[in-house]
Subunit: 798 residues, 2 copies
């Protein structure tokens, strides 16, 4: 196999070459200016100390390469009227993307105070990494971006998410060679097995072999081209190498590489589209750009190698205020771009350079795909009442809640099929999580080989499955940020794999909500199932309900957590979350058969309240405070709480019991901490001011303490939850191990109601004996006692 | 390039072939028995319904392949007296590894109640996935394992961690093709750029193309061999393909492939070792095993394809108690292995098969590397007093705490150089995190290309840097679990990338601590630096202190969190953590110049107490309770607290202030929740029973509420911490944005001391004005006001 396709060497005429080089120099000049200058943006006078920022912050090393790519993308967009967005993996090269959107005019349109003149340029420079200004990285504030790039690893997976169902779009994705060492990025190359050339857009990866990280070379940059060629061919791409440091030569190479890549993308798409659908998996082009780190910057500073080495990573020449010699290096460096050839007297980009940028929404800083809310259309959603479970007798029939949701999702997929703007993502778990009804109307996308006996696997489909939570999360983020809708269903324990991606998306939403020009995007919706209490096949490694603890740390406006106790409440939660925007919604619900409690009307009312008293379950008397509040959140805790109430009602018929169920966990927090927080008066009406609350909670018990610490009765909250006692055992034994089973809950109630323990000694002894009997039984028979398996809420005769 | 090396076809004589096939059948038989049978282990009578488990749990699909590999590894270990451990990526194939360790005798040595006879076999079967028995996955309970395999992605990185500094060891690592889709696994292939053939052992990856996940094919299994060959050549390996389903043919292929691989490993090592060190990076062999999922199991059940399809993933034929037809399929299946040719009447493996297993510690279930505590030697550690910072005047000089620790680590590396059992791991951040002094005595390991201008990059070294937190964490886990020591230094925000790996390691430790035969291993030590308060270059995306919230969820015995406020306390914490075992220690400390507070003697006393009153900072009078407690945890919060105390002392000289500093965060928790929890009486002595506590905490404030919710004075804890307000700004402005700066802390004290606000109105106005002045100043000048930058604790004239 030849190392790479033969490229033209004269794509650019001498004049065009000169123009594109000047455009690149302008971007480089503006990038350096942002890192260094407070004033004197056009260097009309020699650079004075006080014109240099007191704190020099930012990253130069990657920036000239990013600018180089941007300039060449501009060329090809203009030449072909191409629809392109730019994903900047090395997001710390923020000055580069800011500089380019400023040059093309999109920056000043969004931020008119940063005008296209000398004063605007001064402000552009000053604001960068400056208090009250803009962050150093590509971020929500940056026009044309859907990708922060602060935490590395997700550029390529975001790019693919943006390309799905966007057949006219080319997503140019710069992958830094540092980022390329991360796991999520290494897996993301295989996304090409899920991209359909007939119905999706294209991703053009540009691996930037910049050579160095903070203080090390990068692995890929220190491999021979032959090995890189094998690696990326093995990943299913056709790599095109662009290598060198001489600008003129590099411009010709890059122009030819882009021509080749865009030609090939067009050819791949034309073939697939002429056939009606993709028959085979194409070998998509990608570019490997090997250029010096800190290209065009100072070669050496204080006798040490800077350009082409890791010392150019951040600020290549420091202390330019105090050190006149360093300041001279800076000034010489900036003047080496010959600003007088780039900007006019007033600071505007000269006209023949300005003409190089695309126009209007073809500018990458103004492309609506990168401000997806502009393109977002509401989902058409079925009526949840059409999917409601009929609850004849409370707790009387066992239903798989997620299966009911699956039917709803099936209809949602049908309603939006024509819009092609809704996908379901999951790590090989759609069927396992009982959402399989969706396969009545769609398939899993699969561009690798197909076999005749495959089921629901096709070139086209709205379900995306790959055994990588990183890819599921990243694809969905890219899909949402470009204006579409989705749901991520995942085993509860393994959603921790994407903790950090969740963090970054929450940060993105927090910032973008504050930017008027960023239109709202659909919420990121998690359905966490196969949860901690029902890992019958898998045990301890699959038991972890702690993701919501992380979620609860985040800015209140952005996060919601729902714990529907049955199918109808789950329907409400799923439907509600799909209608929201600019949020992260977490729904935790089991997939195993479980008792159903609320009719659809009741479920809607209960969910809208977020938390409420289940009067039908308790034994309160009008005019009296209850003796004990049995609270619950989550499906298994709700069932065990009701079973505990049953035990208490039988043993202690005069005990006044209140049952409170919490669906929306954020109702527990104080209203000054979360918009869903119940007012204190209402909270006290539910949980009383002074009665013991036995709270059975789905996850780690500390979260309930943390959410309620400001509440009047918080000293009297006795929370039972997962305390890290897990293994492969029976469902009820898991509850017993963690003391969240009916016996422990009933015993806790007896212990906490003043004076009751003495009176109920026999009951206590019987329940304690039951726990022993249970343990002996399961260890002998391997299943739960019949009285546990067959327990039904006995007070509701339908 | 030829697709693969030419392999012999007649490695096994017909007799040897028959023997190894019978050994494999024995393992398969025992695997099926574990999933299905309660009794009648040798099938001496027709299988009765009640002899089948009531709940059928476990995973058959991957198991026959795992057994196949195990049998062939046994052959090669015996043939070459090789030192081999087995890492089982598809850990849900637990029955296979349990079956094999039982066959080789190591299982019964560790668990004598599971004897090598019929009764032992009955117990072996019953205990699997059974209450009171063993988990379904390979886990800490499984002899020979250092890898759980429940959460997929880490097999290969664990394998490399085990191989470092173990020159005699071959780590055979089975990578499932499901797992191979994950990010961490995709990145881990590049670990071969960090493995030195002269000084390290070898990793032999065995990619098991089993074909399917739960309900989907796998990506890699659906690629043509040519593309796989390119991919793994690109990753730097020489793939050897073993493909088919006919057992006899597959045995010959596998035997030849192992011969070839072990020959090549030996040759690579011999060359490097004869040269004294590795000169070039070798191309290590790997095996690609393509075999049917559920191999040798039922071909079809109820007319549906099972063998060679995803339906064989878990339990291929269900309901065998109730459904006699299914039970017959099960019985036929088990009898197809001809147990009468494998086990004698008493249930023992017949002698000529028993002779196939290696002996003693060469058995993979008894290899001491997989019970690393057996090999662990204590680290030799320098005296922290030799590295102490002299604190002439409290707060009077600015020191980079992590740099001081770097000097200590340098000496620790020197002391243990000969033992070759201590490494430092980090994602390209050792220098950035100011630990660069270690490079005086060692280098970064690098097996990719070297350039003459590289610095501290060499074929050999004790610092491992790669831009993947997953690889750092996984290598370290593998290194620790095989009996060595290490430290992982990481940017605080990005440690969330390995949240889930931390979870799984904590689970492993929790379980292994309860197993007498598992010897303690060294603790996993994190140094989290470049923390939330000093992300001057990076801003919001790099600001997240929430990892410790996750840590605090875990079993108390396993986790510790330290927040040293200065260099001497950091030295104590680092030294202490390196001496502990079977724990996960998290140290959070800044890398920027910061004031120093405690002499070494004071630091030792303070750290041993975990929390204490800083009498020199407060204004208490003997015999009086303080008016307010100013508490702090973390370096920046401590500095801001002392600055707040300074403001209060100047403005309100008669206010009785107590300063409490917390180093060991777990002292806050109640002693019944954590072994380090202070007794209530002592806690009350520090924090009072009723005085306001203004608590400046490094991370999310909720954690302090959660840890202290059982304490008497918890209603009076007013916690200031990170509330997700972040960006690129000055260090002091970051504190102000999150209200943890000196002014907000002092204002909070004034607000909370009864009656003080009215009396101190002028002070409140002045401080409020200062906050406004600050904001104006930083937005104009881009740096903090001189009075902030130059503030020094004024009460200690040293």
């Amino acid at each position: 196999m030849p190392l790479q396709p033969t490229l033209k060497t004269d794509v650019l005429s001498p004049h065009d070459l000169s123009l594109i080089d000047r455009y690149w120099r302008a971007a480089n000049y503006l990038s350096v200016g942002q890192i260094y200058l407070l004033d004197n943006p056009l260097l009309k006078t020699p650079l004075a100390a006080e014109q240099v920022k007191p704190r020099l912050l930012g990253h130069w090393g990657t920036t000239p390469g990013l600018n180089f790519i941007y300039a060449h993308l501009n060329r090809i967009i203009k030449a072909r009227d191409a629809d392109v967005i730019y994903i900047c993996g090395p997001g710390h090269g923020g000055p580069g993307i800011v500089a380019n959107t400023y040059l093309e005019g999109s920056y000043s349109e969004i931020y008119p105070e940063i005008g296209e003149d000398e004063e605007g340029m001064r402000r552009l420079f000053k604001q960068f990494s400056f208090p009250g200004g803009i962050p150093s990285h590509v971020a929500a504030e940056t026009p044309g971006s859907i990708h922060e790039g602060g935490e590395l690893g997700y550029a390529l997976v975001h790019a693919y998410g943006a390309a799905f169902d966007n057949p006219g779009l080319v997503v140019a994705c710069v992958v830094g060679d540092g980022e390329a060492e991360t796991g999520p990025l290494a897996a993301a190359w295989h996304s090409n097995k899920f991209l359909n050339p007939a119905h999706d857009g294209a991703v053009l990866p540009i691996l930037h072999l910049n050579g160095y990280k903070i203080a090390n070379p990068t692995v890929l940059a220190r491999l021979p081209d032959e090995e890189l060629q094998q690696l990326f061919s093995g990943y299913g791409y056709e790599p095109i190498f662009v290598e060198g440091s001489d600008p003129a030569d590099m411009h010709q190479q890059m122009a030819a590489a882009f021509d080749y890549a865009f030609d090939h993308i067009a050819a791949i798409q034309a073939i697939a589209r002429s056939q009606g659908d993709a028959v085979t998996r194409p070998r998509w082009p990608m570019i490997v750009l090997r250029s010096p780190k800190g290209w065009t910057g100072p070669k050496e500073v204080d006798g040490k190698k800077v350009e082409g080495f890791w010392r150019s990573h951040q600020v290549p020449v420091a202390e330019c205020r105090k050190d006149a010699g360093h300041r001279q290096i800076l000034e010489d460096w900036m003047r080496s771009y010959r600003p007088e050839e780039l900007f006019d007297e007033k600071g505007g980009l000269i006209a023949e350079l300005k003409a190089l940028a695309p126009r209007g929404s073809r500018r990458m800083g103004a492309n609506p795909h990168a401000n997806g809310g502009q393109l977002r259309r509401e989902l058409k959603l079925p009526d949840i009442r059409d999917h409601a479970v009929k609850v004849g007798r409370r707790g009387g029939e066992m239903v798989q809640s997620t299966k009911v949701l699956g039917g709803y999702l099936r209809d949602a997929l049908t309603l939006n099929e024509a819009s092609a703007n809704f996908r379901i993502f999951g790590p090989d778990e759609t069927e396992s999580n009982r959402l399989g009804d969706v396969f009545a109307v769609t398939d899993r996308v699969w561009m690798a080989d197909l076999e005749p006996y495959d089921e629901h696997l096709a070139r086209r489909g709205r379900v995306m499955e790959v055994l990588s939570e990183h890819l599921c999360q990243g694809w969905l983020e890219g899909y949402l940020l470009t204006g579409r809708h989705g749901l991520f269903s995942c085993y509860e324990a393994f959603i921790h794999i994407v903790d950090s991606m969740f963090n970054q998306h929450a940060k993105w939403l927090k910032v973008s909500r504050g930017l008027e020009w960023r239109r709202p995007v659909s919420s990121l919706n998690y359905l966490l199932t196969s949860h901690v209490w029902r890992q019958d096949h898998n045990g301890f490694s699959h038991q972890d309900p702690g993701f919501v603890d992380l979620v609860a740390n985040k800015t209140a406006d952005v996060v919601r957590i729902y714990l529907p106790p049955d199918a109808n409440t789950l329907l409400w939660a799923g439907d509600h979350c799909l209608k929201t925007y600019d949020r992260i919604n977490v729904i935790v619900a089991g997939k195993q058969p479980e008792p159903q409690w609320l009719s659809m009307d009741e479920a809607i009312r209960h969910c809208e309240d977020g938390a409420g008293i289940w009067h039908w379950a308790g034994t309160e008397e009008p005019g009296f405070e209850p003796d004990v509040v049995m609270a619950c959140a989550g499906d298994v805790p709700t069932m065990e709480t009701l079973a505990a109430v049953d035990l208490l009602r039988q043993a202690l018929p005069d005990l006044r019991i209140r049952v409170v169920n919490v669906v929306d966990l954020m109702t527990l927090q104080s209203p000054d901490q979360h918009p869903h927080g119940l007012p204190d008066a209402l909270f006290n009406q539910l949980f009383t001011r002074d009665r013991p609350v036995i709270f059975a909670y789905h996850g780690y018990p500390y979260l309930i303490h943390r959410l309620t610490y400001k509440r009047t009765n918080h000293d009297n909250m006795h929370v039972h939850g997962f305390i890290d006692e897990g293994t492969t055992t029976t469902p009820f034994d898991m509850a017993v191990l963690n003391k969240i089973d009916r016996y422990h809950l009933a015993l806790a109630a007896i212990e906490r109601v003043p004076g009751l323990a003495a009176r109920a000694k026999d009951t206590v002894d019987q329940m304690t004996a039951k726990l022993g009997e249970h343990k002996r039984y399961v260890c002998k028979h391997g299943e739960d006692m019949p009285e546990i398996q067959n327990w039904v809420w006995p007070y509701d005769k339908g």
